[in-house]
């Protein structure tokens, strides 16, 4: 991987586009951002206060009152646009960070794990509360049970129009197909 300074750069004519990939602990967020990103994903820490508010200046902040959460950040340059991908944890205690990440985002790809389907509810609550458009990709693990997608849709109580697919977070083509399904869904909502 190229060093920071020799990394390819976008031009100022590129439109920055934000996409968020969210899901519970261990679902494959870091993996899918790595599969999609043209740069070595940046793993950054966001500092939050215990109350869940974002720290936006460092004055008066002591370790006791703050907690950090890891964000994966990737970049994918397309002709005319540059996608910025945020892999974000889906816990409701990060609501404030969430609100910031999804503000202006094109949409959210929710990653779900059928071995622990109930852990996706918090993420779905966050996206529903934010009123942001989303699609759901089930990241399939070797020991994942083979539920038909329709029963996953029922279990997650998804709208019939919400895209739901199986993906392999390690595979760039599969990861891209999930993003395409998300963006197509957003386009249909805009056109309807």
């Amino acid at each position: 991987m190229a060093s920071a300074l020799s990394d390819s750069r976008v031009s100022a004519e590129h439109i920055p586009v934000k996409l968020v990939i969210a899901g519970p602990f261990g679902v494959g967020k870091t993996t899918i951002v790595s599969a999609l990103s043209e740069i070595k994903p940046l793993n950054t820490e966001e500092v939050l206060t215990q109350a869940g508010t974002l720290v936006d200046d460092l004055t008066g902040v002591s370790d006791k009152t703050t907690t950090t959460t890891a964000i994966d950040f990737g970049r994918l340059t397309l002709p005319g646009a540059v996608l910025y991908l945020f892999g974000a944890p889906g816990q409701t205690r990060f609501q404030v960070l969430w609100d910031e990440l999804v503000r202006g985002a094109l949409g959210v790809l929710v990653l779900a794990d059928t071995r622990r389907i109930d852990e996706s509810f918090a993420v779905l609550d966050l996206v529903e509360n934010a009123g942001i458009r989303y699609a759901v990709a089930v990241n399939h693990f070797p020991d994942s049970p083979d539920y038909p997608l329709e029963s996953v849709r029922k279990a997650l109580d998804l709208d019939p129009r919400t895209p739901l697919m199986v993906c392999d977070a390690r595979d760039p083509a599969s990861a891209r197909a999930s993003l395409i399904a998300l963006v197509e869904h957003v386009r249909e909502l805009v056109l309807s």
Binding site: S6, R9, L54, G104, I180, V183
Partner: protein, 103 residues
């Protein structure tokens, strides 16, 4: 701390995915160390604020203020993601879709 010396503008229109680049006619001398590090990083072309923070090894919240200060001083220019209106722009969606499909 780096942030302490910055003058903080009233309204900060800089976020994680704001693209930052050097103004063509910018005076790039006489900056604080964080400022000149940022300028050196941007010599090769635009970067998002988040990438700047990661490369500088500074927290995002610090770099956001650093960028805002240098934008205020005319050294840097920015390009923001489209404003979050209720629905995204169809042209941007088509651009993203055709770009992703062509990969």
């Amino acid at each position: 701390m780096a942030a302490a010396r910055l003058t903080v503008p009233e309204h900060i229109d800089v976020e994680r995915t704001t693209l930052v680049y050097i103004a063509p006619d910018a005076a790039t001398n006489g900056l604080d160390p964080p400022g000149s590090h940022l300028l050196a990083l941007l010599q090769d072309g635009p970067l998002s604020v988040y990438e700047c923070a990661a490369h500088l090894g500074l927290p995002y919240c610090v770099v956001r203020l650093l960028v805002a200060g240098l934008v205020g001083g005319g050294t840097l220019l920015t390009r923001n993601p489209p404003v979050a209106t209720s629905l995204p722009d169809i042209e941007i969606l088509e651009l993203v879709l055709s770009g992703l499909r062509a990969l």
